[in-house]
Amino acid sequence: MIQHPAAKNFPKNVDQALKNETLQGTLRQVSGGFVDSRATARANLPEFDSLRDAARYMKNHTLQHLDLYLEEFEQAAKNAGGHVHWAENAKDAQQIVLDICADTNAKIVSKGKSMVAEEIELNKALEENGYEVVETDLGEYIIQLRNETPSHIIAPAVHVNKKQIEQDFRIAHSHLDPDRSFVDSSSLVREARHVLREKYFLADVGITGANMLIAETGQSVIVTNEGNGDLTQSLARVHIVIASLEKVVPTLDDASTVLRLLARSATGQPITAYTTFSSGPRRASDPDGPEEYHVVLIDNGRSKMLGSDFQDVLRCIRCGACMNHCPVYQAVGGHAYGSVYPGPIGAVLTPALSGVEDNKHLPNASTFCGRCEAVCPMRIPLPKMMRHWREREFEQHLTPAAMRYGLRFWAFFAERPKLYHFCTRWANRVMHMSARGKGRFSYLPFASAWTRYRDMPAPEATTFQSQWAKNRK
């Protein structure tokens, strides 16, 4: 299993992922389940594409006035009795959370699923400072036991199969009967439910992410199916919300637009089991709920994306549809990317957050088939932005020498159309004859990385241009 790989090792990670039969088995389920469910959900809502247009417009408007909406959210959150903190980078965000934990004499911290927590490596910081961190989302809990990172935005343990989870539970839950049997998935779910239920009550601090922040009301919103985020925030003494700046939306009605798209794009559900809007601590007469409510607003590179070629990626609502539909993700899974955000969204976001130098492979991990943009509920032009990164990679001389020379070689011919047509015409004929009528190659020199897994199609005997010219006559 790939453990915390770096994005710069993407080619090596891909090779490992393709050879990993367990991973390949689990990935086949992703392409079937999520893709089919989303298609059904879209078909059942005729206004789906109009809602996508409206969501894009709403988020563009919000980003154009982001400073004002953030100030509005801050004021509304404070009016409800909450505390709002601002973190310029990951380290600052960690320190703010650590300070809150110290101030409340916390020992145990429960956590709901949060991608920005992964981004700022919050668990590592908390554990290094002596806190017991308990991930409560089932997928996150599984990968915490395995000391792994998420391989998918909404299904962090999608790369792990049932047998592996059973083995992990037997090791982690050694206090339970060693002879117990796990006849099906539900027995594993029940055991996790039983083990984690107690932890919610023991936790001093509960940390959740936020799918949205609402400027109108000062509420943070979590969209979940398991209910762990609600128990995390309702049973701990202190609720900390960590959210990146772009999560803000103007009003509850704007949140409705996002909610109509989010679950349908992610899992194919019309809505998730739980959608929770939280503001401030428990009210004076409330018998339960947290005594303190904190929101940590995290920049960590977002403000620099405003006004740049990459501003549109800040519309992302983290549904995961782009990776579910990506042929590269479907083939190699999330860990191969070596970044917190895998798939097409990660290919654009990761270089923006941590530089293209160490992440130059990610924008190249695309066939440019365009499916990611076609299914994105916020209509983010992901292929266009990956192309921007490729241009920057080339301009900064980060592209491998072989590729640069190859491009120059191709450019030489491309700038000379007659020579180009002459050479391609003859190359096609030779390749076509070499295929000996089979129409494909099972082996090609210098292309074994391709032919090891699939045949290479042989070209037709004549080029497109030749056929076009002939048929026009």
Binding site: P46, L68, L70, W86, S186, R260, A273, Q311
Partner: protein
């Protein structure tokens, strides 16, 4: 300069400087217009029917009541059918406290570690997705929504709104400012193990609705 000011300065710089910020609040804070889907515009009996269909599709179950007076007996029957003891945890909700619970062990307060059955009162619902809206507070402790293995919820037919917009309007008009507004659509679930759907992840294993029919649905709009 504080982190807050530096971040806001960077945001403004990215957006083209501070001059463009010289606008009045009414110019920028607004709901952007989005289409309201047909499924969020149902009226009358169609609205209730769609609500119940969607609620069932999300694995919720329901019973119809003529009035709240029937609730203790109906709850008792549900507990029997589900092999749960005649015991329930609830908040001091006025619609419940006036009822005759003499045949059942009723305790009042927030949720505890082991909670076989809880009963809460929904504020309203949305037909669009079969969603219940519950407001946290003294009368309905929020933990009852998530700690009950079987979560029973009571709602009136007249409280079913067409969609999100109706729920927000009703809530804004109520003047309530709860810590949490909980939208609940069926029991908790997970597909984190090999994408196999399992009900009862961390929240309720089952959600059963008692719908008090206070509308003449033929005339309702």
């Amino acid at each position: 300069m504080s982190a807050r000011d530096r971040i806001l300065q960077n945001v403004r710089h990215g957006l083209g400087g501070s001059a463009a910020r010289d606008v009045t609040k009414s110019d920028w804070i607004k709901t952007t217009h989005a289409p309201i889907p047909a499924i969020a515009r149902r009226n009358g009996s169609e609205r209730t029917t769609q609500f119940l269909n969607n609620f069932e599709q999300m694995h919720g179950t329901y019973s119809k009541l003529k009035s709240f007076d029937e609730l203790p007996a109906m709850l008792s029957q549900q507990l029997r059918e589900r092999n749960i003891g005649q015991s329930v945890r609830m908040g001091p909700e006025p619609d419940f406290s006036t009822l005759d619970w003499s045949n059942m062990d009723v305790s009042v307060g927030p949720g505890r570690l082991v909670e076989p059955a809880t009963l809460t009162r929904a504020f309203c619902a949305s037909s669009e997705t079969g969603t219940l809206m519950l407001l946290s507070g003294a009368k309905n402790p929020v933990t009852l929504n998530f700690l009950g293995e079987t979560h029973f919820v009571a709602l009136k037919s007249s409280e079913i709104e067409a969609g999100f917009e109706g729920m927000w309007s009703r809530w804004r008009a109520s003047g309530h400012t709860p810590r949490t507004v909980n939208l609940i659509t069926g029991p908790s679930r997970t597909a984190d193990i090999e994408q196999s759907l399992e009900l009862g992840a961390h929240g309720a294993l089952a959600v059963h609705l008692f719908l008090v029919d206070d509308l003449d649905t033929k005339d309702a709009t």
